[in-house]
């Protein structure tokens, strides 16, 4: 493991000792494993990019093979110095913005890659060449400085998130962190913090993340956002979800936001809102469901099913709830049977949940069931607590009415 600051500006020589120039920057692939792909060498005349394959070793000086070639920047590549060092990044686990003081590189199986970044004071001291002195002084004062290290998986360069630095080709995993995960992290912090992060994301990403936040946060955000911005984000979210969010806002605000939606979207959302009058899901709520803890094994669950569901009329899914009674996952009986008896529930449960609220219109619930081919939907409250389920059987009565009456 080495620090980028330790090799920056080092002399670059060929294997037989001919000086090429100085190391100016490194280029890496912005992917899940950020492999270093090229060296940028500042020669007397110009800056050249040399593929990392020509690197022999990094000692006091950097040696490359003498028959090296130069190459231009390819897709999805970023510079360490220009795009990462000294720049702000989002520390996802802490949900805050921090500054990169140093970049940590790691060699593994003949490949160099970006292990992560140092955001601590020690990183600053190292850059200034004062790391040892600093540690000594602090040692006398009986203080210890820790390197605040964040791994690549934990960070998101702001410039990337904001779209200021564009990768050459639109990468599917441009935001290598799935929006669902970012949403989970964000839920653990305050609303104010969430508001701070959002302006940093581009609209599409923001929409995805918002769609995955729990309804409390969604409502909080849309109450504070400007109407125009709220509309532009809602535009990118599925209409079904939009209706769920809008129901929790005041009538005035709802109207205001609606007016800013595109005509098409507006029409769809307004229709869904109007069917609200046809009856709420609360009338169809069933308490006949099974909830298990995520730490149970498959064998445990099978036992529970045998013991507790003898009088059940219908058991399509098993819901996973945490100790706060919040719904965190779901699996079907089929999925359960496919697992080994010793597997834990949290390992195979589906975390991508399709849920509804007590206020959700019946029609909307039906739409969701048909769209996702689910025969029962869990009903949750604002805190994500599981209240009960609604089955397709119960709702089909409604469907029948609509078709034949």
């Amino acid at each position: 493991m080495i620090y980028f600051s330790q090799i920056l500006n080092k002399k670059v020589l060929t294997e037989d000792g001919v000086e090429v120039g100085r190391l100016d920057d490194l280029i890496f692939l912005s992917k899940e494993t950020p492999i270093v792909t090229k060296l940028v060498i500042k020669t007397k005349k110009e800056k050249i990019n040399v593929p990392i394959d020509f690197l022999i070793k990094i000692n006091k000086q950097i040696y490359i093979r003498k028959n090296f070639e130069t190459i231009s920047l390819s897709d999805n590549e970023l510079y360490i110095l220009r795009n990462l060092l000294d720049k702000q990044i989002i520390d996802i686990s802490g949900s805050k913005v921090v500054r990169v003081n140093d970049v940590v590189l790691q060699k593994e199986k003949n490949q160099w890659y970006v292990l992560g970044v140092d955001v601590g004071i020690l990183g600053i001291l190292r850059r200034l060449g004062l790391a040892e002195v600093g540690e000594k002084i602090l040692g006398i004062l009986r203080l210890r400085l820790s390197s605040r290290f964040l791994s690549w998986a934990e960070i998101q360069p702001i410039e990337l998130a904001r779209g200021e630095v564009r990768l050459k080709k639109e990468e599917k995993k441009l935001k290598k962190l799935p929006p669902e995960d970012l949403a989970d992290y964000l839920e653990e912090t305050s609303l104010a913090n969430i508001q701070k992060i959002f302006p940093l994301l581009d609209k599409k990403m923001a929409a995805k993340v918002i769609a995955d936040l729990n309804i409390n946060y969604q409502v909080g955000l849309f109450q504070r956002m400007s109407v125009k911005k709220a509309a532009s984000i809602l535009e990118l979210i599925d209409s079904d979800e939009v209706v769920d969010i809008l129901f929790f806002l005041s009538k005035k605000r709802r109207e205001a936001i609606l007016n800013f939606l595109s005509e098409e979207k507006q029409k769809e959302v307004r229709y869904l809102l109007s069917v609200h009058q046809t009856g709420k899901i609360g009338d169809y709520l069933s308490l006949e469901y099974l909830g298990v803890s995520p730490s149970k094994t498959v064998a445990d669950v099978k036992n529970i099913i045998k013991k507790e569901t003898t009088d059940f009329y219908f058991l399509p899914y098993v819901y996973v709830v945490n100790e706060k009674k919040q719904l965190i996952g779901v699996f079907s009986l089929h999925e359960l049977l496919l697992q080994n008896d010793t597997d834990f529930v949290y390992k195979f449960m589906n975390q991508n949940l399709i849920t509804i609220y007590l206020t959700t219109p019946v029609e909307l619930a039906l739409r969701k069931m048909i769209k996702y081919k689910i025969s029962a939907l869990p009903v949750i409250d604002k805190e994500k607590k599981l209240l009960g389920i609604v089955t397709f059987d119960d709702l089909s009565e409604k469907l029948y009415e609509r078709i034949f009456k």
Binding site: D86, K87, V98, N101, I124, R127, L128, A192
Partner: protein, 425 residues
Amino acid sequence: MIYQKNFMKEFLNKLKWRFLFFLSVLGPGIITAVADNDAGGIATYTVAAAMYGMASQFLVIPETLILAVTQEIGARIAIVTKKGLGDLIRERYGIGISLLIFILYFITNQGVVLQNVSGLKAAFQLFNVNWQLFLILTCFFLVFFVVFFDYKKLQRLFLVMVVFYISYIISAVLTKPNWIEAARESFIWPQKINIFDLTFWFSRIAVLGTTITAWGQFFVHSYIIDKKLDIRHLKYERLEVYLGAFITNFFSWMMSVAVTYALFVNGIKVTDGYTAALAIKPFAGEAAFLFFAIGLFAASILGLTIVPLATAYVFSEIFGYEGSLDSTFTKGKIFYGFFIAQILFGLLVALFPNTSLFKLTLYVDFLNGAMLPIIFYFLVKFSEDEEIMGKYVTSGFSRLLVRGSAIMISILVVLTFFGKILKLT
């Protein structure tokens, strides 16, 4: 007729909305510019006005323009990039240069904090109260407000302090000045003094030097970002910055009027704001004295809060910590810690009864003078960089104006310092 009425109504409505929008950006420009007239500034104005009368405000109109132009660059960069000056320096010039600048900046600001604590002390002495007790209480409350108030509430507090500056206007009126003469001396051509006197010019430049400060340039930048203004606000924020430049020089002009018609016409020389206030009493009466003291009080409070905040903002920007008035104490520990430490240090020094701050003022002015050219270099560089500013880049005539102003101020500030070394002021 009906058509016209509707038209008028519509026009007024539009105006009303524009005004409300303007109010929403109100703050950064005015607060920064007025805070530039802090305790140290008042000392310089009063000393100069007692020496040269209203001639000390000669060329105040072009001075206002320069101040407006330089503050506008900062405001524009802040709104366009949403990054502080500290952020930009760190990102563009790396850690070494950033650290160096921060150290210089920190020392300068600590000096300015000291000036303001002693200004506050002087104000309490003028009010004839137990100054030790009040000084400690005031500092305590300042820390309390900054830590526990959010941006909005604090800004209201700042704006209230700005209103207190009106006391200088009252104070000026009470000295029964000759307004026409005052305007002639400052706006057209001074006749009461020998304009070719070199020492006059040094004093005049010193007055300018206290109005345009290093921390002011950083602060307007960070403060706008903390206010979370976006590009829609740019037009109005510019207006607000210009208004701020006007107001601050209007206040200092009034201050100079008060001093001129109480002291200069009677040939009384003073050394600082404290002695000036005392000297005003026999000539302009108890009320004028009181209002002058209130002005000093407000100026010190404003300086004492804004300057350490300016340091804390830049620290957070350069080293990447949470730095916002909206953050809680636990989240912004380092940001608030920096603020508190500077005030505490200032308080401790001021509590020793015989600390002379004359030498210190000299060093502070020197550091300020040394920093300003560097800061203007960065400001001009960033504002002309298309990669940073996009279509809001400085170009054409305004480029000339910005560069010209920056260079002029840099030269003048450096001159001020040499003037002070040679004891010309």
